[in-house]
């Protein structure tokens, strides 16, 4: 069984300040973890993924996430927010290996204030 909890439904930051989007997971195995981004009226896009290699994962657009097994967390961060980062972000967990069913979090809407 697996589940994912995104702790904040909305996050608001000022442009140029750090971004932290929180995600905790529950899994009975060593999971694969992902972050996806959905810009308004656009499709979902893979931001980054963790698949049991390095625990600090770098993604596109300056985002990164750190897998912490002891905390069952996979928080998404970015040092400096840009206006174009305003979007909805989804944390996703799945079993390792190919073609497994995945579980999406409910999403965190990021607002960037100029």
């Amino acid at each position: 069984a697996q589940s994912v909890t995104q702790l904040d439904s909305h996050v608001s930051v000022s442009e140029g300040t750090p971004v932290l989007l929180r995600c905790n997971y529950s899994s009975s195995y060593s999971p694969s973890l992902f972050w996806y981004v959905q810009h308004p009226n656009k499709g979902l896009q893979l931001l980054l993924k963790y698949t049991s290699a390095a625990t600090l994962v770098k993604g596109i657009n300056g985002f990164e996430a750190e897998f912490k097994k002891s905390e069952t967390s996979f928080h998404l961060t970015k040092p400096s927010a840009h206006m174009s980062d305003a979007a909805e972000y989804f944390c996703v967990v799945s079993a390792p290996g190919g073609y497994q069913k995945v579980t999406f979090g409910i999403g965190t809407k990021l607002q960037v204030i100029p």
Binding site: S32, F34, K42, G43, L44, Q45, L46, K49, T51, F90, S94, A95, G97, G98, Y99, Q100, K101, V102, T103, F104, G105, I106, G107
Partner: protein, 113 residues
Amino acid sequence: GAGVSQSPSNKVTEKGKDVELRCDPISGHTALYWYRQRLGQGLEFLIYFQGNSAPDKSGLPSDRFSAERTGESVSTLTIQRTQQEDSAVYLCARGLAGGNEQFFGPGTRLTVL
């Protein structure tokens, strides 16, 4: 793009009518997923096809929902006797070989009046 096209992009229908939504992934990916995203909510898993295995239908919300897939290509999601609560964006995704990354289509926005 993501290598997944969906049609129609928008569909408006009357309550009680049947609708058929289409997903057309590029060839060579054996996994295909359908999700529903209601306004302001996250993704709700509906059904998952993997190669020749029996599909995982555990997410289908009622027997009004069904889906088929022809080989490793086109999939159709059918909703019978639509209800207003079926209004949502229906997303299709293809699975990448060797991992669980998914590549999403643009979605079909269904509005049931």
